[in-house]
C-alpha cells in the first residue's frame, strides 16, 4: 500500500497564501480589507480608462451631472447610464473655467459608487497642473509668453513644433512672440501637451450698435431664454481677457443662432459670421433682421452670388476656402481684413474646414465664438478648436433641454422593408459597392412611405434622402416638390415659405437640407436613404425636428431600411448613434405599421393603412 508524493514538502508553498514555519497563513497581501468601498446611492463609476459612467436613475444624478459636465465630455447618453470621458482637453476646459484639480477630484470622490482609481486622480492633477503654466500677455507691439519655470521654458525652446513661432527669449522663463504667430504657437503648444492661457486681450473692432428687440418682426414677443443669457454672459465674461473666445455647445433647436445674436448685442462690434452653406446664410440674415435693431443695409451676404461686406457680414466656409486650383491661393481670405471685425462667429464649428483653422490662427486678436451641437469632430481635430477658437464655455445636454421643454421630444423609428422577391437575386449578385444604393432605392419603400405619411397626415413632414433620382421618383408619386442642390435659391425659398405657411404638408429634400435650414413646423421626418452610417448626417437631420412644437411637443423621425441588406448594417450604426444620444428607438416591420401607433394603443381602433402596390423606381444618377 502506498501513496506517492511528487516532491518534497517545499511544494507546500504552492499556494501563494503560504505556510510560514509550521503554521498555515491565508492572509492577503496588503492586509486590511482589500475590497472596494461601495455607496449604492452615488451615481458615478469612474473607470481606469478615464471614462465615467453616470447612473441616470440615481437620486443624486442631477447634481453629479452638473458637476461632471464641467470637466468631462459627454460621450454617449443612452437611456439608463450615460458615459463621460475625462481628457486633457476637458480638464483644461474646466481649468479655463476656474475649476481646480482638487475640486474635480473631490467631485469624483463624493459621487463615485466605488473608490476612484488612484491613477485617474493622479492624472487629473497632472493634466490640470499644466494649465496656467504658460500665459500669454500683451507687451506693447509684441506678445510675451510667460512660462512658470525655467526647465519648462527650456523644453519649449527646444521643441521643434513650438520653436519656430518663438521670436526670442525674454529672460530665463519667457519668450517674445510676434502677434501674427499667436494662434499657431497656441496650436503647437497644445499639440505637445502645454495649453496656453491667452490673456493678451482683443481688439475692439469697429463699433456697431446692436440691440435685441423685445418683439420679432412678426410681432411675437422675444427675449433670450435663461440658458441663452447664461451662455452669452459666460462667453463675454464682463469683457475681460479671460472671456471673449470659446465654444458654446447647445443641441440642435436650442437656439444657437439666438445666442450668437446675444453675443453680438453684448460686444456691440462689427461681426463676421461664417456658416456652412448659403441657405444657412439666409437664415442668419433673416434672424438678425428679425430679432435685432440692425437694418438690412447693415447686414451683408458674402457668397457665390453676392459679395457685400457690411458691418455684419454672413459668409460660408465654402466661399472662404475656394481657390481655382490646389496651387492657387484662397482668393476670398481677404474677407477677414475687409473690415475691422470685432467678433467672428463660427457656426457648426465642428465642421470648420482645415484652411479656416489656418486663417483663424492669424486673427487671434479678435473675439471668436464657436457654436455647435457637438464638439466631436470626425477628423479628431478637437485640440485645434480648443487652441484656435477657444475652450468650451457653455454646454447643456440634449436631454436636459428636452426635459425642460426647450426642444421637442423625438421618437426614432426604423421601419424594415423587404426587398421585392424579384429583386433579391439582382441584389445578391450586385457588386458590393453598389449594394448600398441598390438597397436604399428599394421601390417597396414607397408603399411604406405612404403608410407613414398616412399615420401623420395632419403633420408637416419632410422626406429626406440621398439619391436624387430616387427622391424625384418619390416626389412624382406624391405630387410634392423636391429640393436638391440644383434647385435655385429663389425656388427653394418659395418652397420653404409654402411649407412654413402650411400650404405644403410634405416636402422632399436631398442632402442640401442636412444643414441649417429652418423649418420650424416640421414634426415628422422620413429618411428614405442616408450616407452610409454617417453620425453627423443623422444628427443634423434629426436636428431639423427638434425645435419646440405646439401641443405634445413631439417629433417623429422615421428611417426606412431594406431588411437583410447592407443598408440594414449601416442603419445599425445610425441606430447606435441615436440611442447613444438618448433617443427612444423603435424597430418596426413594414407590417407593424398596420397596427396602431404606440401612443394610440388602447385609444381606439387603428386607422386603416393605405395599401399601395410597390412601384419600381428608376435608379441611376
Amino acid at each position: 500500500m502506498y501513496f506517492a508524493l511528487s516532491t518534497a514538502p517545499a511544494i507546500i508553498g504552492i499556494i501563494s497564501l503560504a505556510r510560514s514555519g509550521v503554521k498555515w497563513s491565508f492572509e492577503f497581501e496588503g492586509g486590511g480589507n482589500p475590497g472596494m468601498n461601495h455607496n449604492s446611492q452615488n451615481p458615478l463609476i469612474v473607470q481606469g480608462d478615464h471614462t465615467v459612467l453616470v447612473e441616470v436613475d440615481s437620486p443624486r444624478y442631477e447634481e453629479a451631472r452638473d458637476h461632471l459636465a464641467r470637466f468631462a465630455e459627454l460621450v454617449k447618453s443612452p437611456e439608463h447610464v450615460h458615459t463621460y470621458r475625462i481628457t486633457p482637453l476637458s480638464i483644461w476646459n474646466a481649468s479655463a473655467a476656474g475649476m481646480a484639480a482638487q475640486q474635480i477630484q473631490s467631485v469624483l470622490n463624493e459621487y463615485a459608487k466605488y473608490d476612484v482609481p488612484g491613477h485617474v486622480l493622479t492624472e487629473i492633477h497632472d493634466f490640470a497642473s499644466r494649465y496656467g503654466r504658460l500665459k500669454l500677455h500683451r507687451g506693447g507691439d509684441v506678445l510675451l509668453l510667460d512660462v512658470a519655470d525655467a526647465p519648462l521654458a527650456e523644453e519649449i525652446w527646444r521643441s521643434e513644433e513650438a520653436r519656430k513661432y518663438l521670436e526670442s527669449r525674454d529672460g530665463s522663463a519667457g519668450f517674445l512672440i510676434l502677434p501674427l504667430n499667436r494662434g499657431r504657437l497656441k496650436q503647437a503648444l497644445v499639440k505637445i501637451g502645454w495649453p496656453v492661457e491667452d490673456l493678451a486681450g482683443y481688439v475692439d473692432g469697429e463699433a456697431l450698435d446692436v440691440t435685441l428687440r423685445d418683439a420679432t418682426g412678426g410681432g411675437l414677443p422675444f427675449s433670450l431664454r435663461p440658458y441663452q443669457w447664461e451662455a452669452v454672459n459666460v462667453f463675454y465674461a464682463g469683457g475681460e481677457a479671460t472671456g471673449g473666445s470659446g465654444v458654446i455647445t447647445l443641441p440642435c433647436g436650442a437656439g444657437k443662432t439666438v445666442v450668437g445674436l446675444g453675443v453680438m448685442a453684448r460686444t456691440s462690434t462689427s461681426t463676421l459670421i461664417l456658416v456652412t452653406n448659403t441657405t444657412a446664410v439666409h437664415q442668419w440674415i433673416r434672424e438678425i433682421l428679425d430679432k435685432t435693431n440692425l437694418r438690412p443695409d447693415q447686414v451683408g451676404e458674402y457668397t457665390g452670388q453676392t459679395k457685400d461686406i457690411r458691418p455684419v457680414t454672413v459668409s460660408t466656409y465654402q466661399i472662404l476656402t475656394y481657390r481655382r486650383s490646389r496651387q492657387d491661393e484662397f482668393v476670398h481670405f481677404g474677407l477677414f481684413d475687409g473690415r475691422d471685425w470685432g467678433l467672428i462667429i463660427y457656426d457648426e464649428v465642428h465642421l470648420l474646414p482645415a484652411p479656416v483653422f489656418q486663417l483663424t490662427a492669424d486673427i487671434q486678436a479678435r473675439r471668436r465664438l464657436g457654436l455647435t451641437a457637438t464638439l466631436v469632430r470626425e477628423d479628431g481635430r478637437e485640440d485645434d478648436v480648443f487652441a484656435l477658437i477657444g475652450p468650451k464655455k457653455y454646454d447643456v445636454p440634449w436631454k436636459v433641454m428636452e426635459k425642460q421643454g426647450w426642444i421637442a421630444t423625438a421618437v426614432c423609428t426604423e421601419v424594415r422593408v423587404r426587398l421585392p422577391e424579384d429583386m433579391r437575386m439582382e441584389y445578391a449578385v450586385t457588386d458590393r459597392r453598389r449594394k448600398f444604393r441598390f438597397a436604399s432605392e428599394n421601390p417597396a419603400k414607397l408603399a411604406v412611405l405612404r403608410r407613414v405619411l398616412d399615420r401623420h397626415r395632419d403633420e408637416q413632414t419632410l422626406i429626406i434622402g440621398t439619391y436624387v433620382d430616387h427622391l424625384r421618383a418619390i416626389a412624382d408619386e406624391l405630387h410634392t416638390p423636391v429640393l436638391t442642390g440644383q434647385t435655385s435659391n429663389v425656388q427653394r425659398e418659395k418652397h420653404y415659405e409654402n411649407f412654413r405657411a402650411g400650404r405644403l404638408r410634405t416636402l422632399v429634400v436631398s442632402k442640401v437640407a442636412n444643414f441649417a435650414i429652418d423649418l420650424p413646423d416640421a414634426a415628422v421626418a422620413i429618411q428614405v436613404s442616408g450616407t452610409f452610417g454617417s453620425r453627423q448626417e443623422e444628427a443634423q437631420r434629426l436636428g431639423r425636428l427638434l425645435r419646440p412644437k405646439p401641443g405634445a411637443n413631439q417629433a417623429h423621425f422615421y428611417t426606412l431600411v431594406t431588411r437583410e441588406t447592407l443598408e440594414q448594417d449601416f442603419a445599425l450604426k445610425r441606430q447606435l448613434f441615436l440611442t447613444e444620444q438618448g433617443y427612444a428607438y423603435e424597430i418596426l416591420d413594414e407590417n407593424d405599421l398596420n397596427r396602431p401607433k404606440l401612443a394610440e394603443c388602447g385609444a381606439g381602433p387603428a386607422k386603416p393603412a393605405c395599401r399601395q402596390p410597390a412601384v419600381r423606381l428608376a435608379s441611376g444618377t
Binding site: A4, T7, I11, V22, K23, P34, H80, L572, T579
Partner: protein, 747 residues
C-alpha cells in the same frame, strides 16, 4: 564529514578569544582563508590578542597577517557556520543544501534509513532529519551497546567500497548521556543557544566530554551549528522547527466567522464556457511543438475571462493564464474541444458537437455535468475506458521500466512534477511528452499535485476522508480556512490516525520509497486539503470564499455545489442566487452595464455578448457577431432574451429585443460535403443513369445527377458501361497536384 570534522575541544577553547573580538575583526576572520594574507591593520586593536592566542601570524614588521596553522580548523568551522543560515531560515531547501555541503554521498547513504537499503535521496534524508522521530530515535538509546549498534549503522553503507566516516564517536556511556542531555535541553528551548553558553548550561560536563557530545550531535545531524550574522556569534540548536512543533498550542476547531465580503462563482466552468464560445467564433491557434496556445490566442482568451476579485487572483491557479490552461485541459478531458488542422500550419482548437450541446445547457446543468465526472465513484470508473498502458496500475510493482504499470506511474509522476515546477526556470518541458494521452488527469476527484495512486487510495480511504473533512463544514457558515486546515492537519488527520492493524504507509518521492514521518503526513494532508480547495472546490463553485477582519483572512463556506461534489446531496442550485446578481442594465445602444460586480451574471452574459471589460462598468456589448457566435453554440433568442430579463434590473429596450431576434432569425446551419456530379447530355440519359445508380444517386436537375458516396464511383462507371453509357474521364477537371514542399534540412 567535510567541514565540521575537527577538534571541537580546540574550538571551545578558542571560542573565548573569539567572543572578545570586535565585530569587524570577526567578520575579517570569517572571510580569511589559510593561504591568504591580509593587511594587519584590518584587525585593529585585536591584532595583538589574535597573535598571542595563535589565531594569526604577523609578518613584515607587523604589516601583514595570515591565519596561524593551529587555528585552521577553528577558522574552517567559523566559515562553514556562515555558509548556511540553518537556524534563521529553517526550511527544507536550506537543510538539503546543508547536507550536500557537509556530508559525502557515502555519509548521506549511511545516515539515511532508506539509503541503507537503497540509494538515498537528499530530500528523504532532509525530511527525516527535520522530524521529531529522528531525535527520539537517538534519545531512545538506553546504553552504550545500543548506541554502538546505532552508530555503526550510520557509519557504513551497503557498498563495500564506500567509507562513510572516520570512526565511532560515542565511545562511552558518559558521551552518550552527555549528547542526549544536550539534545533534550535544546528541544525544550524554543530559541537557539550560543555556542559559548554550552559550557555554562552543562557545568557538570567536562569540556572534552562536551566537545565529544557536540561533535556527535553535529555528525549525526541531531544538532546544527550556525552563525548569527548580526553579531557573528556561533549558535547551536536542534532543527528549529522541532521545538516549535513540540511547543505549539493545540489547534482549536475552526470558529464561525462573518466575512466582510464574499465571492462565489464556478469560474472554471465559466472559463470553459468562455473558451468554447471564443473557439466557436474563432478557433484559437495552438503550437505544433507542444500543442499549447499561441501567446496571442492565450491573451485573447484571458481578456474574455470572468472577473474574480483582485484578492482572489493571489491564489495560485487563479491567475488568468492558469485559468485558461485549466479550462482548456478540462475541455480536452471532456472531449469538448479537439485539436484540428495541419501540424505546423493551422493547428487550432475546435469545439466538438458535444460541446455545442453542453453550451446549450443552463449554468447549473453545465456545472453538474462536470461535477458528475469528478465525483469519486465516477473517477474510478473512468479508468476502465482507458487503454491498459495509460491506466495507473494498482499495487506495489517494481521499478522495471518494462513493466507497463511502472511506466504509467513514471509518466504520471513526471506530470506531477511538471505541474509543480510551473514557476521554476526549468529548461526541460516535462509536460510535453505526456499531455497527449493523459489529458484526463485533471478530471479526477483528487487533484494530482499530490499523486496518490488509484487503488491504494481507495484502500487508504483518502476520498472518503476528504469528504468527511470538508463535509464537516456547516452549511452557509464561514470558517477561517487557515484554522480549518491547521485543525484537520493535526487533530483530524487520517494519515496520522490509521486504523489498527493497517499496513504502514509508504511514501514515494521520485525513485525512493519510505515511510513518511508524522510531519510529512501532516504536510501531505494539509497539502491535499489546500489543493482540493484551490483546484476543485473553489474553481467549481464548491465553496463560497470571503475575507474577514483587518488581516483579510481567507474564510470559506461549503455550498450546495460543493456538497454535491462530495456526494452529500443529490441536487443543487447554481446561478439563481439573487445576492450574487448585481445591478445590470441593458442600454438601447446594446451596451450591458454592470453597476455593481456580479461574476455569475458576467459569466452567463459572456456567452452571447462581446466582453469590453471586467468588474463594473460597460462590460459587454451585444453585437451581430456575438449573437451569431451564440447561435453557432446552439443558443436561441429565447435563451438570450430570457437570460437578460432574469439578470437585468430594467426592462430590455425594444430595439435590442427586436434586433437580437432578427439576428437569430438570420442564422442557419448548412453542411459542406464533397460530392460527385454527373452531367448528362440530356434528360433521357440522366434517367438511365438514375436507373443504373438506384438509391445511391439523387437528381439535382433534369440533366445533373449527384453521387454522394464516392466509393460507388467505380461500380457505377462499370454499370453504366454495361448499359451503354460511357463516362468521359477526360471531361473531369484535372486535379492540380499539391505542391511538394521543399524539405528543409535540419541540423
Amino acid at each position: 564529514m567535510k567541514l565540521f570534522d575537527l577538534d571541537w575541544l580546540d574550538f571551545f577553547q578558542r571560542l573565548g578569544v573569539w567572543n572578545r573580538l570586535a565585530l569587524r575583526t570577526r567578520r575579517v576572520l570569517s572571510r580569511l582563508k589559510p593561504a591568504k594574507t591580509v593587511n594587519a591593520k584590518e584587525f585593529g586593536d585585536d591584532l595583538q590578542l589574535l597573535a598571542d592566542a595563535k589565531f594569526l601570524m604577523v609578518y613584515i614588521e607587523r604589516q601583514r597577517a595570515k591565519l596561524h596553522k593551529d587555528c585552521h580548523p577553528f577558522a574552517r568551522a567559523i566559515r562553514a557556520m556562515c555558509r548556511h543560515d540553518v537556524l534563521g531560515q529553517p526550511d527544507a531547501a536550506t537543510l538539503q543544501n546543508y547536507i550536500e555541503d557537509h556530508f559525502t554521498r557515502a555519509e548521506q547513504d549511511a545516515l539515511s534509513p532508506s539509503g541503507r537499503n537503497y540509494r538515498s535521496n537528499i530530500r528523504d534524508l532532509a525530511s527525516d532529519a527535520l522530524s521529531i522521530a529522528w531525535l527520539e530515535d537517538f534519545l531512545s538509546l538506553k546504553n552504550l551497546e545500543q548506541a554502538k549498534e546505532w552508530e555503526s549503522l550510520r557509519l557504513r553503507t551497503r557498498y563495500y567500497y564506500q567509507n562513510a566516516s572516520i570512526g565511532v564517536i560515542i565511545e562511552s556511556s558518559e558521551a552518550l548521556t552527555a549528547t542526549q542531555s544536550i539534545i533534550r535541553q535544546l528541544m525544550s528551548s524554543t530559541e537557539p543557544v550560543l555556542f559559548g553558553d554550552l559550557p555554562v548550561w552543562f557545568k557538570d560536563l567536562s569540556l572534552p566530554l562536551l566537545a565529544t557530545a557536540t561533535y556527535a550531535g553535529i555528525r549525526y545531524m541531531l544538532l546544527f551549528p550556525s552563525m548569527r550574522h548580526g553579531d557573528m556569534t556561533p549558535m547551536i540548536n536542534v532543527w528549529p522547527t522541532i521545538p516549535q512543533r513540540l511547543h505549539r498550542p493545540k489547534p482549536k476547531p475552526p470558529r464561525t466567522v462573518t466575512p466582510d465580503q464574499s465571492f462565489h462563482c464556478a469560474y472554471l466552468m465559466e472559463d470553459m464556457t468562455t473558451v468554447l464560445v471564443c473557439a466557436s467564433g474563432e478557433p484559437p491557434r495552438v503550437r505544433g511543438s507542444d500543442q499549447a496556445l499561441f501567446a496571442k490566442a492565450q491573451k485573447q482568451l484571458e481578456s474574455n475571462l470572468t472577473s474574480v476579485p483582485e484578492w482572489l487572483s493571489q491564489v495560485d491557479g487563479c491567475t488568468s493564464g492558469k485559468r485558461v490552461q485549466a479550462a482548456v485541459e478540462f475541455l480536452q478531458g471532456l472531449r469538448f474541444i479537439e485539436t484540428r488542422g495541419t501540424q505546423g500550419k493551422d493547428l487550432r482548437l475546435e469545439p466538438t458537437a458535444e460541446a455545442r450541446d453542453w453550451l446549450g445547457m443552463s449554468s447549473r446543468d453545465r456545472l453538474k455535468s462536470i461535477l458528475d465526472r469528478l465525483k469519486p465513484d465516477q473517477s474510478r470508473n473512468q479508468q476502465a475506458g482507458l487503454p491498459a498502458k495509460h491506466r495507473n496500475m494498482p499495487g506495489d510493482v517494481g521499478f522495471d521500466m518494462d513493466d507497463v504499470g511502472d511506466a504509467a506511474r513514471f509518466a504520471r509522476d513526471m506530470l506531477v512534477l511538471a505541474e509543480l515546477d510551473d514557476d521554476d526556470d526549468d529548461d526541460y518541458d516535462w509536460d510535453a511528452p505526456f499531455t497527449s494521452y493523459d489529458y484526463d488527469h485533471r478530471l479526477r476527484f483528487l487533484p494530482r499535485t499530490v499523486s496518490w495512486g488509484v487503488d491504494p487510495v481507495l484502500d487508504l480511504g483518502i476520498p472518503a476522508a476528504l469528504i468527511d473533512t470538508y463535509g464537516s463544514l456547516a452549511r452557509r457558515r464561514f470558517v477561517q480556512f487557515s484554522q480549518f486546515v491547521e485543525y484537520h492537519m493535526q487533530q483530524a488527520n487520517p494519515l496520522l490516525s490509521r486504523r489498527p492493524g493497517a499496513k504502514p504507509l509508504e511514501l514515494h518521492i521520485g525513485w525512493s520509497r519510505r515511510t513518511p514521518t508524522d510531519e510529512e503526513a501532516e504536510d501531505l494532508w494539509g497539502q491535499l486539503l489546500v489543493d482540493f480547495f484551490r483546484l476543485r472546490l473553489l474553481p467549481l463553485g464548491g465553496v463560497q470564499v470571503g475575507l474577514e477582519g483587518e488581516a483579510a483572512a481567507l474564510c470559506i463556506s461549503l455550498t450546495d455545489a460543493g456538497r454535491y461534489l462530495l456526494d452529500m446531496t443529490k441536487d443543487f442550485d447554481y446561478g439563481q442566487h439573487s445576492d450574487q446578481q448585481g445591478h445590470i442594465v441593458v442600454q438601447p445602444n446594446f451596451d450591458i452595464v454592470f453597476l455593481s460586480p456580479a461574476p455569475l451574471a458576467e459569466a452567463t452574459i459572456a456567452r452571447f455578448a462581446d466582453r469590453k471589460a471586467t468588474g463594473t462598468g460597460t462590460l459587454f456589448k451585444i453585437t451581430k457577431k456575438s449573437i451569431f457566435t451564440a447561435a453557432s453554440c446552439n443558443m436561441t433568442h429565447e435563451q438570450v432574451l430570457g437570460t437578460l430579463r432574469d439578470l437585468c434590473t430594467k426592462a430590455i429596450p425594444t430595439n435590442v429585443t427586436r434586433e437580437v431576434r432578427d439576428w437569430f432569425d438570420q442564422c442557419g446551419r448548412v453542411a459542406i460535403k464533397t460530392t460527385l456530379l454527373i452531367r448528362c447530355p440530356n434528360a433521357r440519359i440522366a434517367t438511365r443513369v438514375l436507373e443504373a445508380g438506384g438509391k445511391k444517386l439523387t437528381p439535382i436537375s433534369d440533366t445533373v445527377v449527384e453521387l454522394a458516396d464516392r466509393k460507388f464511383k467505380t461500380p457505377l462507371v462499370n454499370k453504366l458501361k454495361e448499359t451503354g453509357v460511357f463516362v468521359d474521364q477526360s471531361s473531369q477537371p484535372a486535379v492540380p497536384k499539391p505542391k511538394q514542399r521543399r524539405r528543409r534540412r535540419r541540423w
